[in-house]
């Protein structure tokens, strides 16, 4: 019954089903479709495009085809960016702009100043933000090279003439299909205080007391990196493998004719030709690692990443703080600028490598 309720909830409670009906009826009147039911339905669905073509010819049609996509992008990707700018220069708890007075660069001060401009006492926010930034950088600096090395090694192993190649590739790809929540739960089952790892190590006599691997300050970063790498390795391995397979076979045959040793083949042929792919993978994983959040949040690790900082400060969940929205908006703008530079780099690099 719950299932039925959920379906009912999804499709009731607003005016849009009626809107859809009106849309279809207008379409029916204008188009008067023929053919089977499915054919008629799809014909009617596109009635604005049909009508525009009948009225004005084909010149306006591309815009109509792009419109739905453009609307969604505009509303939920671009508008939020500008809204973030709006939040960053206004203050207050409300998300309604009418209730948020203009605050110039106050939020910036609140985020990064030494003294709290509201109370005049020492500001804690900047320490938290800088801490998050530093921790994230530590995470990125270790996670990205480690993952790329392992991904490269895996791709090289899978690019050999080995038995069951498709099977091995699937195995390494499988974690990519798991959701962050599942990944986190999977590993917290092993890494929690009374988890498999602690109990096993205790049984073997390696450690005396159970360790909370994810909470212990000495271990939390290492295991964050491990779990994150475990979850994302397969994706980058796949791209690298595609890059490896794009290297023409006859190059290796020619090298073999010349009597080139395998190690030299790797360093002189494989790696240079894989260079562009490797570069793209590096930048891509940098961008992703910098945004690491979902897995870490679900794992409940001891440190907070930049995105987690933004999320927590904004008060979208939990308790909103006095100027949390504005501070979070400033922080996200700062991070977004950094990420955009990285993305631009990636587009440049992928453009170059595809040429």
């Amino acid at each position: 019954m719950e299932a039925v309720d959920a379906v009912f909830d999804a499709f009731s409670g607003s005016r849009w089903p009626i809107g859809l009906l009106v849309y279809l009826i207008i379409g029916w009147v204008l188009i008067r479709p023929t053919g089977g039911i499915g054919t008629r339905l799809i014909s009617i669905l596109g009635w604005p495009i049909e009508a525009a073509q009948r009225a004005a010819g084909a010149t306006s049609l591309p815009y109509l085809f792009i419109l739905p996509n453009f609307l969604v992008f505009g509303l939920y990707t671009f508008a939020p960016m500008f809204m973030n700018v709006g939040f960053s220069v206004t203050e207050g708890e409300s998300i309604l702009f009418t209730e948020r007075p203009y605050a110039a660069d106050d939020n910036f001060q609140r985020l990064l100043n030494e003294t709290n401009i509201d109370t005049g006492r020492e500001n804690r926010e900047d320490d938290k933000f800088i801490r998050a930034l530093v921790d994230t950088l530590i995470f990125v600096v270790f996670q990205v090279p480690i993952m790329i090395l392992i991904a490269l090694a895996t791709a090289l192993a899978l690019n050999r003439d080995i038995w069951g190649r498709g099977f091995w590739r699937s195995v390494f790809f499988y974690p990519v299909m798991l959701s962050p929540v599942v990944v986190a739960f999977l590993w917290s089952l092993i890494l929690k205080r009374q988890g498999l790892l602690s109990l096993t190590l205790m049984r073997w006599g390696v450690i005396e007391e159970p360790i909370q691997w994810l909470q212990d300050p000495g271990w939390t970063m290492m295991w964050s990196i491990f779990v994150y790498t475990w979850a994302h390795l397969g994706f980058y391995m796949l791209i690298l493998l595609a890059g490896l397979q794009a290297i023409p076979r006859d190059l290796y045959e020619a090298a073999e004719m010349d009597g080139t040793r395998p190690w030299r083949q790797l360093t002189r042929i494989t790696l240079p030709l894989l260079g562009p792919t490797l570069l793209v993978v590096t930048v891509l994983s940098l961008i992703k690692a910098f945004q690491a959040f979902e897995e870490l949040y679900a794992l409940n690790v001891r440190w907070i990443s930049v995105v987690a900082y933004i999320f927590e400060t904004s008060g979208l969940r939990g308790n909103p703080t006095a100027h949390g929205l504005g501070i979070a908006a400033v922080a996200s703008l700062l991070v977004a600028v950094g990420l955009m530079l990285l993305s631009l780099l990636q587009i440049r690099l992928s453009g170059r490598s595809s040429r």
């Binding site: 023929t34 053919g35 010819g57 084909a58």
Partner: protein, 355 residues
């Protein structure tokens, strides 16, 4: 059936004009071929008639009605594409009925037309197959069938035989000619192959660089080419050209031969000209001739071709019926029949023939 009139038709892509004002009139029921080297604009011209390209300037009139702004589908034309453009996901029958469905014809009527066209083109057995399961020749027939069922006023063919092998091409050529004589429709046919043009056309339009060089019946083009380009393009092997000038009322070739001029040509004293002579109008012998060395001989049994080089390095081809005794390396003299020679002005390339 309809006649087609092009009036000062122009087409530009951006700032570059590719069709430079073409005038043409195809009367009802005629088979008209556009021929020219690749890039001459013949396909563009066809697509402008079809309505697939915008018209930059001038007019296209079908049955006296200007169709410049009428969409392709409503011009009453049907087109056979170079790649056939059969919808790969539809069966042959669906391919042929798709257009009729779009015109909201009734089901029995559609079935009747498709069956009739299939019978005429002998593809009844293929109606339920997908295009991917057909051979090249069968696909060609289906593509024609798709055009036939529309019962168009004008058929448009865009190099329809270029994807077939040589043998099939000859068969299909005959079938299309046969189709024309049976249906009696106006047909516009684009090809780069002058043999196709000569064998099929009622009228040929020779195009070069967006300019129509000559428009007329095949033999008219063969016998009375209006310029050096048409002379060289029409006929196989190509016409031989020898440089010379008009001196003392005679044609003085650079390599020394003198030929008498008669009233057919209008030339002035001292004018530099090119003399054109077809391979079949040359004979081996002495006298008023050109001294050449035979560089290769092709013996085809019933006829022979001699490829010669004059003392000035001009390439000259000679055709002899029957088998020849001439040998490679032999030095011979070629006699030019003054009655079959063509004269072209060297600068303008225009024919010097009067009237």
């Amino acid at each position: 059936m309809a006649d087609l009139i092009l009036e000062n038709l122009r087409k530009s892509f951006g700032s570059e004009e590719v069709i430079h004002g073409i005038d043409m009139s195809v009367s009802s029921g005629e088979f008209c071929v556009f021929v020219g080297p690749s890039g001459c604009g013949k396909s563009t011209l066809l697509r402008m008639i079809a309505g697939l390209e915008d018209i930059t300037g001038g007019e296209v009139r079908i049955d006296g009605k200007t169709v410049n702004h009428i969409p392709a589908a409503q011009r009453g034309l049907a087109m056979v594409f170079q790649s056939y453009a059969l919808y790969p996901h539809m069966s042959v029958r669906q391919n042929m009925s798709f257009g009729l469905e779009n015109l909201r014809m009734t089901r029995p009527e559609i079935a009747g037309r498709v069956d009739e066209a299939a019978r005429m083109l002998q593809i009844e057995a293929l109606l339920e197959r997908k295009p991917g399961q057909l051979s090249g020749g069968q696909r060609q027939r289906v593509a024609i069938g798709r055009a036939v069922v529309r019962e168009p006023t004008i058929f448009l063919f865009d190099e329809p035989l270029s994807n077939l092998d040589a043998e099939l091409r000859v068969t299909m050529r005959a079938e299309i000619a046969d189709l024309h004589s049976r249906l009696g429709n106006t047909m516009i046919y684009v090809t780069h192959d002058q043999v196709e043009a000569m064998t099929m056309a009622d009228k040929i339009a020779v195009l070069r660089d967006g300019i129509m060089e000559q428009f007329g019946a095949p033999l008219e083009l063969f016998n009375l080419p209006q310029n050096r380009f048409v002379a060289g393009f029409i006929g196989s092997p190509s016409m031989n050209f020898l440089a010379g000038e008009v001196r003392a009322g005679q044609v003085a070739l650079k390599n020394g031969a003198m030929l008498p001029l008669d009233g057919r040509f209008m030339v002035s004293e001292g004018q530099t000209i090119e003399l054109g002579i077809r391979a079949g109008d040359l004979t081996l012998g002495s006298g008023q001739g050109v001294d050449v060395e035979i560089s290769s001989v092709e013996q085809l049994g019933a006829e022979s071709y001699l490829y010669c080089r004059s003392t000035l390095g001009e390439q000259i081809t000679l055709h002899e019926s029957g088998q020849t005794r001439a040998r490679r390396g032999e030095k011979v003299s070629l006699r030019i029949d003054p009655d079959s020679m063509h004269l072209f002005d060297l600068q303008s390339g225009r024919s010097c023939r009067t009237g």
